[in-house]
């Protein structure tokens, strides 16, 4: 983190100038950030909110998801996706993932019921759910798609970017994301005029103007201070994703040679942006210990699939209900992949893995 902002004197000057304006809430730099963000991801509108989780929640709310409705999503996502559904009083309906860590779209149709009010595909780890297959289902059943693109900014399929396929796309700007700010933060993108208006109301207490409350909304605004940070960082977003793709290609090439490691599929029509670089590993837990002991920040995203978390006990899912998610939870391992890594550092990771399996 500190590395990312090691050379930021110009940003520092911008922040000092901004703070003196006192324009802290829904200020001008936020509007600039929203325009730049929309342009970056190829969307018509972008709306800054307080977190990626809120981006999902507000999107679901805006398309009418409420108490008792069902939302179809994937069994292996981060807890926030499901938390957003639960907060609206709706019920998460899981489908299993495939080896790209995203929803297996072939399983979606069987999960549709009369109560299904939204599809919430998660573009997990930098991959994308196969939207080419999900869109026809959305049209067939008239069920809107909200894309959880929190981990896949600038990911694409056939050149069409994450977040622009569905009714709305939700992004996170959390400090650990590919494009980040200095706090929690999130963005919703949409091409719909109506949803754009609704999101702007929902994030600011439903206030149409200072004194009129159109609908009961939330307090979920992206701090304008953080938009200044975002404006500084956005011009390098593409470069950051390219560096990560390059890093992943290096790992793929080297790790492929090691018995014990399996590289997930890398379909050529997908632009995978590697928010996380994950492979499947034999004797995963031992490998993790081995690497951690060497000071390598290897991690597991995530060791317990969401459907088996204590918070979801009431849904009554049993272990084994989603076999691919279960299998992956035991074999996945994430290696550091960020844009600041040197070839030497990645070489050290590869050498250590090789040594472990030797």
């Amino acid at each position: 983190m500190a590395q990312q902002f090691s050379d930021c004197e110009d940003l520092w000057d911008k922040l000092k100038a901004f703070v003196a304006t006192g324009d802290f809430t829904l200020g001008k730099p936020l509007q600039e950030f929203e325009e730049a963000f929309a342009k970056l991801v190829g969307a018509r509108y972008a709306i800054g909110v307080n977190s990626g989780t809120d981006a999902i929640k507000l999107s679901l709310k805006a398309v009418g998801v409420g108490h008792g409705n069902e939302v179809i999503t994937t069994a292996n996502t981060f807890v926030a996706t499901v938390g957003a559904i639960a907060e609206l009083g709706a019920i998460p309906v899981f489908v299993d993932c495939d080896d790209t860590f995203c929803m297996n779209v072939d399983l979606v149709e069987a999960a549709v019921t009369a109560e299904t009010k939204a599809f919430l595909p998660v573009h997990f780890t930098g991959y994308m759910t196969d939207m080419r297959k999900l869109l026809p289902l959305s049209e067939k059943y008239g069920i809107p798609i909200i894309e959880d693109a929190c981990q896949s900014i600038l990911g694409a399929i056939d050149g069409k970017k994450a977040g622009t396929w569905g009714e709305a796309g939700a992004f996170s700007l959390h400090p650990l994301k590919n494009v980040n700010v200095w706090s929690d933060g999130g963005v919703i993108v949409t091409k719909s005029d109506e949803l754009n208006d609704k999101f702007r109301l929902l994030r600011n207490h439903g206030l149409a103007d200072r004194d009129t409350v159109e609908l009961l909304g939330y307090n979920s605004r992206l701090d304008t201070f953080q938009a200044v940070v975002g404006n500084w960082l956005l011009p390098s977003a593409l470069e950051i994703s390219e560096k990560r793709i390059e890093n992943a290609a290096f790992y793929d090439r080297e790790l492929r040679k090691i018995n014990g490691i399996v590289i997930p599929p890398r379909p050529s029509d997908f632009r995978i942006v590697y928010h996380l670089y994950i492979v499947f590993a034999e004797r995963r837990d031992e490998l993790l210990d081995f690497l951690v002991n060497r000071g390598i920040e290897a991690k597991i995203h995530y060791p317990t699939p969401i459907y088996r978390q204590p918070a979801l006990a009431h849904l009554g899912h049993r272990q084994g209900a989603f076999p691919v998610a279960d299998r992956q939870a035991k074999s996945i391992i994430s290696f550091p992949c960020d844009q600041h890594l040197s070839v030497a550092e990645m070489g050290f990771v590869v050498d250590s893995v090789r040594e472990f399996y030797a």
């Binding site: 500190a2 108490h67 700010v181 207490h205 159109e214 307090n219 979801l312």
Partner: protein, 372 residues
């Protein structure tokens, strides 16, 4: 353009002046946080939480993303849920009622007194079997009648959640806001007396269990990195904001003293024949988040002051029960007469710590002359 007696426009808020005053002390703090790489949670948040707990006289402070979130988390942690009733006044900022509605509960409005705070004498008749909580709002920085409210609540076995978003440091009977109810909810929005440079808020409680549950709730319900105990929200205070608030909390007694002095000057200068200012009780310490007067011909006066370069505000011109968003609650004009009458008479004057005696003198003379 005609002008007021200072010869210059008088702003309602003055965040730039605050920045100029604190710049040299705040810049090193901001730089330190940014270089630390710790942007969410961490030591700056923990330090602010302990300092705020000591200041408010409570066992726990949990820092969150906004005052609205403090209300939502507080209600959920107190066990208020779908279909439960929460008693609250209809003249607050929309967020107070919004929090109740968002968790599926029902706001039950009770009209206010001349001092704009919930009327304790009207509370009891609205209590039903479904009432789970009373949410008084310490509007303008003045404490609601907490002795009476606490007594009613404990008599009926219901809890109190204080909406203290506008009342940091306010006291009633020497006991601070946020330390009376089961939980207290504060905002640190840029326009508050204790303000960050972005959204922020926190919750106070003496209850270990509630504090613990809200600590989980604010970060996805995660007990540790991999285990979700229950579903939560994302409502964390930014480290940067916590560090700034830690600094400003130390200045708060001075800010409060200046706002109180400003209010006293207004009281001395404004004509009591044409301007109603709710008196401060001997037992209360009002921190004057806003200084609100009640007058005839309010709209005309507001335009007149604007022509003189004097910025004023109205908190709030449309009561919550008459907002489009509240249509489903089925209220009509006349349901809460005191609130409705005040909505047409209240006017908020600049009272922030950068308002000078000369400015207050100019504003008071302009008002007295217009209403004479």
């Amino acid at each position: 353009m005609t002008t007021n007696s200072t010869g210059f426009p008088i702003p309602y808020v003055n965040l730039s002046a605050q920045w100029s005053q604190e710049r040299d002390q705040l810049l090193p703090i901001i730089e330190e946080v940014l270089l630390s790489g710790q942007y969410v949670g961490g030591k700056y948040v923990e330090e602010f939480e302990s300092a705020a707990a000591a200041y408010c006289g409570v066992k726990h402070v949990v820092a969150l993303n906004s005052g609205t979130d403090a209300l939502v988390c507080g209600l959920v942690a107190m066990g208020v849920g779908r279909g439960d009733e929460v008693i609250t006044p209809p003249n607050s900022f929309i967020a107070s009622t919004g929090a109740i509605v968002h968790i599926g509960a029902v706001p039950v409005f009770v009209d206010v007194c001349a001092d704009q705070n919930i009327d304790p004498l009207l509370i009891e008749r609205t209590i039903t079997k479904k009432t789970k909580a009373i949410m008084p709002v310490h509007l303008t920085g003045r404490m609601a009648s907490m002795e009476a409210i606490s007594e009613i609540a404990s008599g009926h076995g219901i809890s109190v959640i204080e909406d203290a978003a506008q009342a940091i440091g306010s006291e009633f009977a020497s006991k601070k806001s946020g330390s009376w109810g089961l939980v207290g909810c504060f905002s640190t929005h840029p326009l508050k007396n204790l303000n960050a440079i972005g959204d922020g808020g926190f919750l106070t409680t003496n209850d270990d269990d509630i504090a613990q549950r809200i600590r989980l709730m604010r970060s996805h319900g995660l007990a540790d990195r991999d285990k979700a105990e229950s579903f939560g929200f994302v409502s964390r205070m930014d480290s940067l904001q916590a560090a700034i608030l830690g600094f400003r909390l130390k200045q708060l007694p001075e800010v409060t003293a200046k706002r109180r002095a400003n209010a006293n000057l207004y009281r001395a200068l404004l004509s009591s024949e044409t301007v109603f200012i709710p008196p401060d009780l001997e037992k209360e310490l009002n921190t004057y988040h806003t200084f609100v007067i009640q007058v005839d011909r309010r709209d005309e006066l507001k335009s007149h002051l604007a022509q003189l370069g004097i910025s004023t505000s109205i908190h709030y011109p449309i009561p919550i029960h008459l907002q489009p968003a509240a249509k489903s609650l089925g209220h009509e004009i006349g349901d809460f007469p005191v609130t409705e009458e005040q909505a047409s008479r209240i006017l908020t004057l600049p009272v922030n710590q950068f308002t000078t005696d000369a400015q207050i003198d100019a504003i008071s003379s302009a008002i007295n002359a217009f209403l004479k």
